[in-house]
Every structure is written in C-alpha cells, then in structure tokens.
C-alpha cells in the first residue's frame, strides 16, 4: 500500500496485519519511508500467509495506491507480480509506469468521490476495507481492530471508520476472489504482534538487563522507547545520555555496580562507542550493545537496511580485543539473540555486540508467542577473598570472580591499562601476554552449543549468509529443494568468537558455496575467508542496501548452471 506521507498508509498496514494476526494468519509488515519527518512518500509492505514468513516475497500480488504522489520512488522496491492487481482512485491519475507493468489489472476505488460525499470518512480506511475484502478477512475482525485503534478518539470516529471500511469492501464486489487467503491453521496459544526492536528489548529484559542508557538514533530508538516504560516495571531504569560516548560509559558504570546493562544504537553511534567497548573488554565488564544497522558509511541512509557494520563490529577496536558478536536471524530471533547475548556477556564478563538491522528492527511480525529460554544472566561473583583479592586471576576457564562494589574485602580498581592479576597497572610483557591470553581463552573455550548457527539440509551445495538474510535464504533454499536440488543453509548466529571446528563440520562435503550478504564490499565473504576454509568453488552474491535482497534472486544464483 502506497501513499504520500500523512495519507495514513503505515497505520492502515498495521491494522491490516493486526486483523490478519487476530484471525490466525502469519505475516509481516515492513515500512519504507523517506527521510522526511512529515510528508514525503510512504509504503507499507505486507506479506500474509498460513505458514510462518520471515521476509517479503519477490513480487506484490496486490498494490493499493491511496495516491501516487512520489510513488515512483518505490520503483525498484515494489515489483508487481505478472497479472497483479492494482486498486486505486481514477481521480489520482494512473500509477507510475514502473509500478504498473503490462498485464497489470486494475480495480477502481473512487476514494476522493467517497470522501467528498462522506466527509467523516478517511481514504485510508476505505482502502483498508477494500484490501481486507480482497484477502477474505472477516468484517467483524476488521471492525474490532478499527475500534481498538480509534476508541480513544470517540464513538463517532470509530463508527465513521467502520462505515468507510465497509464501503471500501463493497466496492470490491467485482473482484474474482483469487487473492483470498486460505483459512489459517488453528492457532496454538496467544498470537503476538511484535517488531524486531521490541523483541530486542524484551530479550534484554528476559535476559536480566535492568539498566539501559539511551541516545536516540534511527532505526534503533524503538528498542530504547520500549525499555523506557518497561524497565521500571521490573525494578530497573533507563536514562537518556548526552551522547553515545556517555551512554556506553553509563552502562559500563552500571554493570561494574553489578547490574546487567545495555544500550542500543546504529552505525554512527557504534563508531563513537568503540573506545569504550575496548575498555569493557580490558576491564572485563559485561555489557550489551545493540547495533541496528542502516546504510553507511557516515550518516548513510538512516531509514533503510544494510549489513555493512560487520567490519566495525568484528574489527573495530584497537589492540587485540576478543569480544562477542551475535546476529539475530529474524524478527522473533531478535529476542533470542539479545537474551543469549546478555547471558553470554554476563557469563564471560565481556562486551557483546548484537548486530540487528533496520529490516528486522522495524518489521512487525504476526507470530506465535516466542518460547521462554533458560538464559538468565548470572555472573561469577567474588564473595570470599584471599589477601590480596586477585580480580583478574589467571587459570581455570579464564573467567575470574568479580567483586561488586559494596562487598567488603573485594576493593579493586577496574582498569583499561594493562594490569596484573590484582588489577595494578603494568607494562610488563609477561603480564600483558597473560591477560591477553586470559581474555581470549575465556571466550574461545566456552561451549556455545547449537545456537552458534542455523544449519539446515544436506547436499554438496550450500548457501551461507547471516542476520536478516537468513529467512530470505531459507525461502530460496526451499524453492531449490522443491526443484530437486540438494542444498544446505548455513547461517552463523555467533559471528565472534569464530568456531573453526563447527564451521568445518558444517561445510564438510560442500563443493559449491554461495555467500549472500547485503554489503557493497562483500564484508562477510572476506570475514569468512579470513577465519574459515571455504570450498574452492565459492561465489558471492552481494549488494549494498537499501534495495532488499529477495528470495528469488538467491534462488536464481543458487540454481544457475546447477542440475538437480
């Protein structure tokens, strides 16, 4: 659904998804907007299905144009399926040629006439009713969602909106019904509507985070805005910082005080936080930093997705600074990944970077309730003190018991300077080496288990990808399998530390490998080459944002020249 800013396209998309979710369908809603605060162009891109979906499809079956102002900007983002349906107001003129290929079919929806005749009706509510009718949504489910959205505005607004939607539905009588969705399977338990950014916030909370410091940035702010009212409810707090340098140092301070802590940002903010990430690594303070990636470098494209912060997340710090980098693979996996990252950071006393992206963070998904996980952050605390207390004691797993301020006998100074086991600054080669070894070993030796990667399927061909492209690649692989190809899907969730043995096992027997990523310089491919042994026949499909990579593109790369 497209329209100019203010036409209510995004609200309409959200209501349609909500009605579909209530009825038991799965689905997701991605928004595509320009940089303007008000005005500009907006598109709500919606996919509904009876099975779980993790990405948008290759083509659009139904395009609803409330108006076509600036709609040509979606030229490469919205591709109508052959014979696809366009619903629009003839009064708004024809759609841009790029959005209406030959063979497109049209249904008129006289929005301006209808709103002129009924001044209380809004065009987007008429369009909502039309779309719901075409998809076969129950009229009462839709009315329920409308009521929920507008009840604060009064009964008149609710009544007018419901009437407008019903009129939109009636206007679709000439449609054949081919877009009608199959009845959803009986839903098990409560259905959820959640964005990746909200899931990230919830994952942090489930993992034990009780302090967050915030500096607003697109497209990460919703994580912080979800945590702001919810952290106090569970006995935590959130503070707005003056900049990202402050926000990361605030969470280091809070964590030093014994409270699991998190901040969320995007590329420009992560750049500012890198020095303090090194401090948390050296001083062994657990923190979680979520980077919701957007187009870069510099200010880049704040509202659109890219995977190009991989390099800074992995290699950004000066010195040898082993840390954790974890990438969620779907909207709901934002919850799991963030909870796991919190747990690992606390367990291993080291910073964890969660690499989400705009396409996960700002996508809203209709899903079943995500399962509870056993990962609750619990760091090893020092309670029994030898004299003197050795905060950075060597030996064992490399994780040394941490004294929390207030504990008598545990006084020590946490330090970013190279230090002895006691924490006293030193420039000795031996001590430097010993502490570098300690910090490397503690995260290298840990048993991360099966969560380290998604590994699916068998065969001598494989797709390897990461993050938000995992779901896209999964769909491509499913199509290739349906054609008789035997293809594996490999997607590491744990990017750092690298897992040489596990990856070797995952790649064992793979002769052809396709690397898929959304960067201009093939950062992921270079990362893989640096750390893993790849098959000789390895190809790379990569392009920068903001144009999303579609399942069909991966499918074509995967099957080109390959016989099933």
């Amino acid at each position: 659904m497209v329209g100019s800013g203010g036409a209510g396209v995004l609200t309409t998309g959200a209501m349609l998804l909500q009605a579909a979710c209530a009825a038991g369908w799965n689905g997701l809603l991605t928004r595509s907007v320009g940089p303007q605060i008000r005005g500009g162009e907006a598109a709500a891109l919606l996919r509904l299905a009876t099975h779980p979906v993790e990405c948008l499809a290759d083509h659009v079956d139904l395009l609803v144009g409330i108006d076509w102002v600036s709609a040509q900007r979606f030229e490469s983002e919205i591709e109508l399926a052959p014979g696809g349906l366009i619903v629009s107001d003839p009064g708004a003129g024809p759609p841009p040629p790029a959005l209406s290929p030959s063979g497109a079919r049209f249904i008129e929806l006289r929005l301006s006439e209808m709103t002129k005749a009924n001044p209380a009706w809004r065009a987007n509510m008429i369009a909502l009713g039309a779309a719901a009718q075409l998809l076969g949504l129950d009229e009462r489910d839709l009315a329920g969602v409308i009521r929920l959205h507008f009840e604060a505005k009064g009964a008149d607004v609710v009544a007018a909106s419901v009437a407008a939607a019903q009129a939109g539905g009636r206007a679709m009588t000439e449609a054949t019904g081919e877009l009608r969705l199959a009845r959803p399977a009986q839903a098990n338990g409560k259905r959820w509507l959640i964005t990746g950014n909200e899931a990230t916030g919830l994952g942090a909370l489930r993992g034990g985070v009780r302090f967050a410091a915030a500096y607003p940035i697109t497209p990460a702010s919703e994580i912080l805005e979800w945590l702001a009212p919810n952290l106090p409810e569970v006995g935590g707090s959130l503070v707005q910082a003056e900049d990202e340098l402050a926000s990361i140092n605030m969470i280091i301070g809070a964590s030093y005080g014994g409270v699991p802590a998190l901040t969320a940002t995007s590329g420009p903010g992560l750049s500012l936080m890198v020095e303090a990430l090194g401090l948390a690594t050296a001083a062994e303070i657990p923190i979680v930093v979520v980077d919701v990636m957007r187009g870069g470098p510099s200010t880049g494209i704040p509202t659109k997705s890219e995977q190009s912060d991989l390099n800074i997340a992995v290699y950004g710090m000066h010195g040898d600074a082993p840390h954790l980098v974890i990438a969620p693979q779907s909207v709901t996996d934002c919850l799991l990944a963030t909870q796991w990252a919190t747990f690992l950071a606390e367990t291993l006393q080291t910073p964890a970077i969660v690499l989400s992206d705009q396409s996960l963070g700002q996508t809203q998904a209709a899903v079943s309730r995500p399962a509870d996980l056993a990962f609750i952050g619990e760091r090893l605390r020092a309670t029994d003190f030898a004299t003197p207390y050795l905060r950075y004691a060597l030996g064992g797993s490399g994780v040394s018991p941490m004294a929390i301020p207030g504990t008598a006998g545990g006084q020590y100074t946490a330090d970013g300077l190279t230090h002895t086991e006691r924490g006293i600054p030193t420039s000795s080669a031996r001590e430097h080496r010993a502490q570098l070894d300690k910090r490397r070993e503690k995260i290298e030796r840990y048993a991360y288990g099966a969560l380290w990667a998604t590994l699916e399927g068998e065969g001598d061909a494989a797709v390897i990808t990461w993050g938000s492209l995992t779901g896209v690649a999964r769909e491509a692989v499913a199509r290739a399998r349906a054609d008789g190809h035997r293809v594996r899907l490999i997607a590491p969730r744990l990017l750092l530390p690298t897992r040489a043995d596990e990856m070797a096992a995952a790649l064992d027997g793979v002769k052809r490998l396709l690397v898929v990523e959304q960067t201009h310089s093939a950062q992921f491919h270079r990362f893989l080459r640096a750390h893993y042994t790849l098959p000789q026949e390895t190809s790379v499909f990569h392009r920068p944002g903001p144009l999303p990579i579609r399942p069909g593109e991966i499918y074509r790369q995967l099957t080109a020249g390959a016989s099933p």
Binding site: W192, P232, E233, A246, G253, G258, L279, P405, Y412
Partner: protein
C-alpha cells in the same frame, strides 16, 4: 576485612599500598592526602565508596585509595560514575579528573553532569597543563603560555570551569588548593555531604611542566564571604574573582536526579501482554 570489623576512620585506612607514579612535589599527592582525610572524617567504610576517573596524572588516584575504583577511558569518568550511582544509590561515588580530561575531552559530560545533578562529588585537579603527555596546553592554560605543540602560546582564552558549572546547574561549587590539604579535606567533606552534583575545582600545581605554579601558595586566599545559595550572586562572584579565591562558593538546593527505587511492580508476563492480539 569483614562486615563486623570496626569502621575505618584513620586516613591511612583509605590509602592503598600502591606507590603513585606522580613526580616528586606534585600537587596530586596532597589531593590524595586530603581525600583520604575527608573519607576518614566521613567515617564511610572503604567498600561503600567508589572512586571513578578517566585518563591523566590526576586520574591515577583511584588505585591509590583502598576503595573500589574505576580507571576508565579519557574524558568519560562522569557518565561512568553516573551509571554506577544511578543503579547503586547506596554507594558514595567520587569522581576524579584533571583539566584536560574533565574540561577538554570530557567537556560535554561536565555540562550534562551539572545539569543532571546525580549525587556525585567531582574533584578536578587543575594544573593548567597536560602533564602525562608532557606539557601541552589545556582549556585552562594561559593564552601566551609557550609549549612545543603551541609555540608562542595558544592565543585562546582559558575558560572558567566554576562559572560553567554554575551556569549548567551544579548544586555545589567550590575551589580548593592542594597545598592546603586540611582545608581541601573540609571542602571535600562538605561536597560529599551536599546532595546532588558537587563540583570541587582543586588547584594542584604541576611542578614539572609548570614550575611557575609554585607561586600559587602565595596567591591563594580564603574567600572573604560565606557560600551563597543565590545563583546570581554566585555568578557575579565567580565571574569577577581572581581565580585564587578558595572555599565553598555556591550551595544550591536542587533535588538530586535519581530514578525511582528499584522495586519490581509488575511480573514480566504482564509486560508481554502488550504484544498479545
């Protein structure tokens, strides 16, 4: 030490065994002396105190105390300390900095720490020079002071940290001189006891790069009047004094910043209801 041990109340109980890296004659020795004296006077158990710092000669002070300490990155001691104090209001949090760490690279945090008014005590050891990097000008260096980095001087006007603290909302503003450790200790005691953000500028001579500062002992003098709670009056005094006027100069009555006490009001499951359809 264990929980039943008597409270430490001798200055020596707050000193660690670590030998400072400071040059002989450095003013910071006296600041350490004043700090441990103040902590003894306050009678706080060392484990209930955290001393937080950034980078520079003065920022080495945490490890020289027997308290919990954090020697972080350059310029960021204030947000780190704020994060700690917000989640651990039971601790006494003292922040130590210098004129380079606190006023230059950490300048933005200084403004916002004053504004935010978290209950911290901020001790800035000001010697008008970067000592650890061997003698470059700081924001308080005189414009004609010749250095290798700025031959002939910076030509840039030094700034007045006390006026900036006051304008930014600091709740307590004082100036002390390291060479008077007893008076400095008294000021630190008042600063710790005063709720909210307490700022103490401590003139602490650098005998290596600023031997001229040995003359400070002749120039400092106790403020002729009591501290005021009137910001306008304090502003006038601070704008017009000679920079060597010692004592507590302003005491405000703003409420410290502290988010609501950490009491869980809801079950996590209640929060998750927001996602249900």
């Amino acid at each position: 030490m264990n929980a039943t041990a008597p409270l430490a109340c001798k200055p020596g109980d707050y000193k660690s065994q670590i030998k400072p890296i400071w040059c002989p004659g450095c003013g910071d020795y006296h600041v350490l002396m004043a700090l441990t004296r103040a902590l003894a006077a306050l009678g706080l158990p060392p484990e209930r105190i955290a001393v937080i710092s950034g980078i520079g000669c003065s920022s080495r002070i945490p490890a020289y105390t027997n308290c919990y300490g954090f020697h972080g990155v350059h310029g960021r001691s204030l947000p780190l300390a704020a994060g700690l104090k917000i989640v651990r209001p039971d601790l006494t949090v003292i922040v130590a900095s210098g004129d380079g760490d606190g006023y230059s690279i950490g300048g933005n945090h200084f403004l916002h720490a004053c504004r935010r008014n978290v209950d911290l005590t901020y001790l800035v050891m000001d010697n008008h020079i970067y000592g650890m990097t061997k003698g470059q000008p700081s924001p308080t260096t005189e414009p004609d002071f010749d250095t290798a980095l700025t031959p002939g001087g910076t030509g840039v006007r030094p700034f007045n940290p006390l006026v900036i603290a006051l304008a930014s909302g600091a709740n307590f503003v004082a100036r002390a001189y390291a060479g008077n450790p007893r008076e400095t200790a008294d000021i630190i005691v008042s600063a710790v006891r005063h709720p909210g953000f307490s700022f103490v500028e401590i003139l602490s001579p650098c005998v290596t790069y600023r031997p001229d500062q040995r003359a400070w002992k002749e120039r400092v003098h106790t403020a002729p009047v009591e501290a005021t709670d009137d910001a306008a009056r304090a502003a006038r005094r601070l704008m017009t004094d000679d920079g060597f006027n010692l004592g507590v100069l302003f005491r405000g009555d703003r409420h410290p910043f502290q988010p609501a006490a950490a009491v869980a009001r809801a079950d996590r499951a209640d929060l998750e209801k927001g996602f249900e359809i």
